[in-house]
Subunit: 138 residues, 2 copies
DNA sequence: TTTATAATTGCAACAAGGTGCAATAAAGAT
DNA sequence: ATCTTTATTGCACCTTGTTGCAATTATAAA
């Protein structure tokens, strides 16, 4: 539970809402959409406002406790300690395949060389056509 | 103006609204946000509803006349004939650097090899830290 | 030129996410 | 245990984008 400690170090207050939200993300395996988080929070603590939840998620993200990415025009969050990985999303069948981080290393390096640009490659979502759909199409 | 021809071939109707929207994207250099398009359309033809505009943009995208991408949680559109390129967006200073398509070729190939996944690499937005900000930080 | 028909529009309502502000509550000081 | 300060909450409202549906209009046929 170092998330709480991290927040405290930043001079942030440990409110019941924040503790609950952090616990929910901790307990989840894989990612949760903002909507799922809102549902789970309000099930345990009715009356918590969605803006509180969005704000807390932003704080946790900035503190490095949680990663935020975008899937299907929805924000998704997951806890730090699952390791970085990326999502290959098939725009035809909707299937999502996880792929590991190393595949983006070469791109990372060439962008630094050519543009001095340091990419933030955490849980990217890459759209395209998966192997099965590609076969069906041909 | 082959956009209009393309729409006609698909059995779609050439309404004044569609013609205006298509012209505006044609006339623009670089990309336009959805909001900018809505503003320009309504300046020339007041009363056109935003849902008409969003729907037309989707149709034009599916017809291959226009490319849609996402910049800063906003949809941006640009006309076909500017060629593919990508945007490197600095999350610190907000600056956007265009980079050319070839830089993603190796990734494209390795995703096909490892996962059989055919990435749709049109006008991606890649977040990170630009050279200048990186220098300032150190 | 009129008519038939299917596509399209505008509208109203909705969903996700974000923001300014007054009321509230956590945390340290007394 | 109480007070003070400052962060945080909830609220109401806003923005971008989407959707179902009745009214309208482009198009092609008569």
């Amino acid at each position: 539970m170092s998330c709480m400690a991290t927040l405290k170090e930043k001079g942030l207050k440990l409110t019941p809402q924040r503790i609950l939200i952090t616990d929910i993300i901790h307990d989840a395996r894989g990612h949760l959409t903002a909507g799922e988080i809102i549902g789970r929070v309000q099930a345990k603590m009715p009356g918590v406002n969605k803006s509180t939840i969005y704000r807390t998620l932003d704080i946790l993200e900035e503190a490095g406790c949680v990663y935020k990415s975008e899937l299907d025009n929805e924000l998704v969050y997951h806890h730090d300690d699952k390791g970085h990985h990326h999502h290959l999303k098939c725009t035809q069948c909707g299937k999502i395949v996880d792929c590991d981080e190393t595949i983006l290393e070469p791109l990372h390096n060439s962008l630094i060389k050519k543009y001095g640009f340091h990419v933030d490659f955490k849980h990217m979502v890459i759209n395209g056509i998966c192997a099965e759909c590609e076969n069906k199409n041909n």
